[in-house]
């Protein structure tokens, strides 16, 4: 079947309109805090509305969305969303270079949390809110959200859902994909509300609380403070955020099952045990290393900062309560390794995801077993159910492609003269949607100093990482576009 460019254009238009509406929300904060930025949101929203409206009006949609169209719709809308989301930063003059604004915006939507800003507070409340809000939208996926709200996306919604939701296999909680999307977003909204409330109880202002809740549940890490969570120096806030970071790294369908009274699903999940196990073991290791190298005065401080840093890095949130760039090399390399892992499939985290790591580990073990028993028949099981061979194949393919993308991006970044630690870690931190890295891009530094081409590569890394490689990479494959035609316009005859 020919690629339905009409469908792609029309749906892209609808999603732009959807985001234009979202751009109106920060205006409330702008008026309340009287920072004068409201007009830039109005202009940005109007631009988005005109572009989106024009696209959706002029393109004639096909009756069905195939999976090929799904990739293009999701891929292009993410690129376009970041472009639209960058406008307020650029128009207000807070970020003078559009490339930097685009970087900041993409870092928001992909929940990376890497920033090019020296002093975050300089943005003003409404832009800071928008920054956190983009993360929240990107965390569970704004396309999944629009599936839940917009009836227009009903057809072929599964294709879009598949292309946006992370994880090797997708849970379906309800027979209709719209209901599944609605359930996931409801859980997400509920958790955000609860965290906002708890943070306010711990002493944050409503503005700080909601921004941090947005960035925690999305595992984004855009704090409205330059010093991130360290700015508060409040152990209760640390604790609340750690708990919600851990929760955000768990598959949201599990949360839903738990909330509907199905406790057993939580206990049965092998991936959950693996995820918690890795987090706890590395926390202990990093804590012991910090005690050994006497980074902190007391072991309690070591425990507090190590726990926070391990979980925030593992889930790809990227908040910081300590400048881990000053920690011992053993701790730093542990944290960099953790960056690749991510949380569970179906969570809002970045990275490879625990499910893939776990199945890869099982696959490796079985290869060794096959060497000992050449005639043995083996099967890989997750939660006592057999994992189909094609899922294993796709995971192996995923990991190889991941390595290739990583190597190429690192080559380009370091090829521009960026030092090896900064270059490598910046790619790792953006590809896995972490945010802060080491050395030049460490928690107390920012990405502004990198060359422009490197920033462009890192922007691609972020979106490729968030949409799990294939959705974006397929758009660069020539055969994907082989039979592409001009879309059918509304005004064209027949």
């Amino acid at each position: 079947m020919r690629l339905g460019t009409g469908t792609i254009g029309a749906l892209l238009g609808w999603l732009l309109i959807f985001l234009s509406v979202a751009l109106l929300i920060p205006i409330a904060f702008s008026i309340y805090y009287d920072d004068g930025n409201w007009r830039f949101f109005v202009i940005s929203s109007a631009i988005g509305f005109v572009l989106g409206g024009g696209l959706s009006w002029s393109c004639v949609s096909e009756p069905e969305i195939g999976h090929r169209e799904g990739f293009a719709i999701v891929g292009f809308s993410w690129l376009a969303a970041a472009a639209l989301g960058a406008l307020p930063y650029y128009l207000s003059g807070a970020i003078p270079s559009y490339l930097n604004a685009y970087f900041e915006s993409m870092s928001g939507f992909t929940t990376t949390g890497a920033t090019i800003l020296e002093r975050v507070e300089a943005l003003g409340p409404s832009l800071l809110f928008w920054r956190a809000f983009t993360q929240w939208l990107g965390g569970m996926g704004f396309i999944v959200l629009s599936l839940a709200i917009l009836p227009i996306l009903g057809i072929g919604g599964m294709q879009l859902f598949r292309a946006e939701m992370p994880g090797p296999t997708k849970d379906r909680l309800a027979p209709r994909i719209q209901d599944t999307a609605r359930i996931l977003w409801s859980v997400y909204v509920l958790f955000t509300a609860v965290e906002t409330g708890l943070l306010m109880l711990a002493g944050m202002s409503f503005f700080d609380a909601i921004c941090h809740a947005f960035c925690t549940l999305a595992t984004g890490g855009f704090s409205p403070r330059t010093d991130s969570i360290a700015a508060f120096q409040n152990p209760w806030i640390d604790l609340i955020i750690i708990v919600f970071i851990i929760l955000a790294g768990i598959n949201f369908s599990l949360h839903y099952r738990l909330l509907t009274g199905n406790w057993k699903a939580f206990g049965r999940s092998e991936e959950l045990r693996f995820y918690l196990g890795i987090g706890i073991v590395t926390t202990i290791f990093v804590m012991l290393a910090n005690i050994h190298f006497a980074t902190y005065d007391s072991w309690l401080d070591s425990l507090r900062y190590s726990t926070f840093q391990v979980w925030t890095i593992l889930t790809g949130t990227g908040f910081h309560t300590a400048d881990f760039d000053q920690w011992a090399p053993a701790c730093k390399i542990t944290l960099v390794t953790l960056m690749f892992l991510g949380g569970m499939a179906g969570s809002t985290t970045g990275g490879i995801k625990q499910a893939r790591i776990l199945m890869f580990w099982k696959f490796t073990r079985i290869q060794i077993r096959k060497l000992i028993h050449p005639r043995a028949v083996v099967s890989i099981k997750l939660d006592n159910r057999k994992v189909p061979a094609e899922v294993i194949q796709s995971i192996l393919g995923y990991l190889s492609l991941y390595a290739v993308v990583f190597v190429f991006a690192t080559l380009i970044v370091t090829g521009q003269g960026v030092d090896i630690v900064t270059g490598t870690v910046s790619v790792i931190a953006t590809l896995n949607n972490i945010g802060p890295g080491l050395a030049g891009v460490g928690p107390c530094q920012n990405y502004a100093g990198l060359p422009d081409l490197s920033k462009a590569v890192l922007i691609m890394c972020m979106v490729v990482g968030r949409l799990e490689l294939y959705t974006i990479i397929i758009l660069f494959v020539p055969s994907y576009w082989k039979d592409v035609r001009c879309p059918r316009w509304r005004w064209s005859k027949t």
């Binding site: 077993r369 028993h373 005639r375 043995a376 028949v377 083996v378 099967s379 099981k381 057999k386």
Partner: protein, 448 residues
């Protein structure tokens, strides 16, 4: 008792034979005239040709007067329907053989209670249970539980050079020390002896002991036998029986290798087993078996559908040094022969199923029964009733019939290994070893 049996296969025939020997009225129904003719010729029963699930045929068998209905045809659905009909006709107890596991699940709305079936028997499941029970001990060739497993009957093969050879049972008693046991039967040259004090144990004898389960280890040491649960088990044949055995052994942390020829079946097995190694090759492929280490196996269980494969692979394993083998054989006539060949335990799934049914049927005064495979002796469990003439009298004053031996007395959950001074009380459960022909005499004695 009037018994209606449908299905004249191995199981049906075996049940008919046992019940008719015990003087019950047996009516056998089958669709195959040939099989019926054979059964009629060999057994003292009434045979009716026809469909066991047909009302007309059942009425012809005078089913309303029957006390027991046993459905053991090869077709599950026929057995189930026949049992439902038997219930409508007012038969008191109904037994059905059902192969399909899905009918068994407690979750199904059509479980055995709803269908009004007293005993549902799955031959594969019963077979697997039997294999597991025997596998617990590597030296014993037979283990039967009594009194809820507190007392066991164990069968051992006495090998050349064992210190107990040539000692009379009376002398044995002096050796036994703290532990009570009774040697209740000796099988020598396919002849069963219910021994007295003057009988000798000889090499190549098979002896049957009654012993408390907790004393078993000590008694085995006394007999210079080592019974250890197997650590490494090879299962040849990944059918229902092989799978069930593998699954159970795997949970006991035993090293299990399961060999199956069908690669699709292997996939299924690998999916449902965790630590067991599923191997895809032929059970007769000596090279592959050896490279997987069958020579070091503690136990080899050959349970493919083919008797030849089972026998040959067992022999191969034994030849290369496997410690013990359990072999499934569908023709029970060959069982005595296999012992001669060096196969430790041969089990016929049909006989195992038939024994299970008989055990159920005789429930009542007789609580459980095991037929000692390959011998003429039987073990019966009987309860002493209050009205019995010999209550409260010492054993020596009761004239126990010849060819019977009282193995154990269970009183209020405690086990007594009896001597001449033991006094029997009402409610005691007696475990009696007897030659088949002596069973009616024993029953008579106990009901007098």
């Amino acid at each position: 008792m009037r018994v209606v049996v449908i299905g004249a296969g191995e199981v049906g025939r075996h049940i008919c034979q046992q019940l008719s020997v015990e003087n019950h009225e047996v009516i056998l129904i089958d669709r195959d005239a040939d099989r019926l003719k054979r059964a009629k010729r060999d057994l003292n029963i009434l045979a009716i040709e026809g469909n066991g699930a047909s009302a007309q045929i059942l009425e012809q068998a005078n089913i309303t007067k029957a006390d027991l209905f046993i459905a053991v045809t090869d077709i599950d659905e026929v057995n189930l329907i026949a049992c439902i009909m038997a219930k409508e006709y007012g038969v008191l107890r109904r037994v059905a053989r059902v192969r399909n596991v899905e009918y068994f699940s407690g979750a199904s709305p059509l479980n055995e209670h709803r269908l009004g079936i007293d005993l549902l028997i799955n031959p594969d499941q019963v077979m697997a249970q039997e294999i597991l029970r025997i596998s617990e001990m590597s030296e014993a060739f037979e283990v039967v539980d009594f009194a809820h497993g507190e007392v066991v009957l164990v069968g051992y093969q006495i090998k050349e050079g064992n210190p107990v050879c040539g000692i009379t049972l009376a002398d044995q008693k002096d050796l036994r020390g703290l532990y009570d046991f009774v040697i209740v039967a000796i099988v020598r040259d396919e002849e069963t002896i219910i021994p007295g004090g003057s009988d000798l144990i000889r090499a190549e004898d098979r002896i049957y002991l009654v012993v408390r389960r907790r004393d078993m280890a000590a008694v085995e040491e006394l007999f210079n036998l080592w019974s250890m649960a197997p650590k490494k088990v090879f299962i040849i044949g990944g059918g229902q029986v092989g799978f069930r055995v593998a699954k159970a052994l795997e949970q006991r942390k035993v090293d299990v290798a399961l060999v199956e020829t069908d690669s699709i079946r292997c996939e299924h097995l690998a999916e449902h087993l965790s630590s067991a190694v599923v191997l895809n090759f032929d059970g007769l492929d000596a090279h592959d078996l050896l490279s997987e280490g069958i020579d070091t196996a503690d136990l080899v269980v050959a349970v493919t559908d083919g008797d030849t494969t089972n026998i040959l692979s067992s022999l191969l394993a034994k030849y290369h040094g496997a410690k013990k083998c359990i072999t499934r054989i569908s023709r029970p006539d060959f069982i005595p022969l296999l012992g001669k060949l060096g196969i430790d335990v041969a089990l016929s799934p049909r006989l195992v199923a038939a024994n299970m049914i008989l055990r159920f049927v005789r429930r009542g005064a007789i609580l459980s029964v095991a037929t000692l495979l390959g011998s003429d002796a039987e073990v019966v469990e009987l309860v002493v009733s209050e009205r019995w003439a010999h209550v409260d009298k010492p054993l020596r004053s009761i004239g126990f019939p010849a060819d019977t031996n009282l193995g154990a007395v269970v009183r209020q959950g405690k086990v007594i290994i009896p001597s001449g001074d033991t006094v029997l009380k009402a409610g005691d459960r007696l475990i009696i070893f007897s030659m088949k022909k002596a069973i009616p005499t024993v029953e008579q004695l106990l009901t007098s």
